[in-house]
Symmetry: C2
Subunit: 329 residues, 2 copies
């Protein structure tokens, strides 16, 4: 079903809708055919961290994962936007150490941990968060692993001309079935290039992870292995209480869901052979999560989630975040 | 000038616009005539904390400000969404003490301070933020001051039936020139009622603060005094580095600007006799600030502000937040 109307997420307070978010979403199969679409499927988006599952493929395809004897936990971290809990930080640290590298080889800068307890621990220790605490540190460890394994310089791996990033471009182009040579470029929060791609192409790339029939055996195997790692270790992909972790646990392996900044979301549904690409026009995370849950429910792979409350300072429920009444449009 | 198109705030990254926000805005005079309008002026909004300048009028009109010998600093705090710096917290604490009350009489719950240094200090002291740290604690101290002065119970002052909140409803109705008896209701972040009002009425209420010609002498005097307090003490109205504080300093008394949650903004421009009411449809603060600055620049009371950058974790500028190119529409 195709609908030119965007999907609408409402934020209510008491008697009325206080704020509204508009979203674009495409659910595609491996051929690129849209099974469902809302809003503008041709919208050019930066897929941001939502495509970390695709970015992690190079780790397996180059043989770096084998050479480095990466665990499923480490593969999940390579595709993660983690909360910087001690589990996350320690695992990335040990992985770097095993490669003879350290935090100082990571080209993502640090930022305050998404995990409030980790943030508090750093504040009490009067320590600034280093690059290990960046939610992308696992992805960057993966970049370093492939560069090392391929005999490429590790320094400069985050630049657009480095082979590491050229592999990312090649994977996105091939999986999305689209020429990305001349699409918009920018810099991500963690310093790597972002590559503009149409929402439909993003959905197709995710669908081909879900359904590898058209892929060569190496890539198909890499896709299955990343999906297996993420669904087996949802806590490594995000963190305690976060949407991706909570919903993947509920899904029990039926899907991968991965958030990106600025309201982007990716879904991979192997059982249906479908990919989901979603972008909230204004970039709001709160709306992207509610919309992604609604799409997964609509596809029949997630049971209805509890309503997302709006809480006040006293933690009283004063509203809800929900799909507008014309959903699924 | 009236324009049915909403105003659009763009968030760019590298070569393209990554996210877009839609805003509604009315600039009105004291008669309610729209001098400028973008989007839907009839939109029903909760004005949230943007109307704290209007809420503070009762403090003067009841005589509580005189009886309590309130300073201009305290009046500014009564109209503030403060950052909970030590200056803010200590001032509200001393004010309560002078009335024989304490933090435990405040009916707003605590929340983490907006000021990161204050947040860190509490974390290091392993202390949870009490109600004094709520950004609305000055407003609540004002509510308590009027209740005490009027001989009303202090307990329950945040409830919709209490005379304190009935005065708020009466002020909004009278200043907005609109019957608010049956408009939507909800509960604010700090526990008091929110009252739905059309954006045009909100703009008119603010315009009547800017231009008191139609008001009785008591109210006109109260309006002038609140405006004077806020423009003399912009640091008390918000806090270091925050938009309201920074722009009011730049304005040098030419305007009051006051943020509300969910992308609402109020402006009061005495020299032009105008009120500005603004609502970003999706509730985004980042867009509301850029749009409010643009409107103030358009009115000629604020010099062009530096571009608002989008920064990555390394603090590199990777984009900007700006008005769309068709502004001012």
């Amino acid at each position: 079903m195709r609908n030119n109307n965007p999907l609408i997420v409402e934020v209510t307070r008491g008697d009325m809708v206080e704020s509204r978010h508009r979203g674009h979403c495409v659910v595609a199969d491996r051929t690129g055919a849209s099974v469902h679409a809302w809003g503008d499927g041709d919208l050019m988006v930066y897929p941001r961290s939502a495509i970390k599952p695709l970015q992690a493929l190079a780790l397996i395809e180059t043989g770096a994962a084998e050479a480095c004897q990466l665990s499923a936990t480490e593969l999940a971290l390579a595709a993660a936007s983690h909360s910087a809990t001690p589990d996350h930080v320690d695992a990335v640290s040990r992985w770097l150490e095993r490669m003879g590298l350290s935090e100082f080889d990571l080209e993502c800068a640090g930022h305050d941990p998404k995990c409030r307890d980790a943030d508090k621990a750093l504040i009490r220790a009067r320590t600034a968060p280093g690059a290990l605490y960046n939610n992308c540190s696992g992805k960057h460890a993966g970049f370093l692993a492939t560069a090392l394994h391929m005999g490429e310089p590790t320094k400069g791996y985050s630049g657009p001309g480095h082979p590491v990033q050229q592999r990312m471009l090649a994977i996105l182009s091939a999986m999305g079935g689209v020429d990305l040579a001349a699409t918009p470029r920018g810099v991500d929060g963690c310093g790597i290039p972002v590559i503009g791609m149409p929402l439909t192409a993003m959905a197709r790339a995710l669908a081909r992870m879900a359904d590898g029939k058209d892929l060569d055996a190496t890539r198909a195997g890499a896709c299955s292995r990343i999906i297996a790692a993420m669904t087996a270790h949802p806590n490594m992909v995000a963190g305690p209480g976060r949407f991706d972790t909570v919903t993947m646990r509920l899904g029990g392996g039926a899907f991968v869901v991965k958030a990106g900044a600025e309201g982007v979301y990716a879904g991979i549904v192997p059982g249906l052979g479908l990919g989901v690409a979603l972008k909230i026009a204004d970039g709001a995370k709160r709306a992207a999560e509610v919309a992604m849950a609604a799409v997964l429910e609509h596809l029949g792979v997630l049971d209805p989630m509890p309503e997302t409350p709006v809480l006040n300072a006293a933690q009283a429920k004063v509203g809800v975040i929900r799909m507008a009444s014309d959903w699924p449009g």
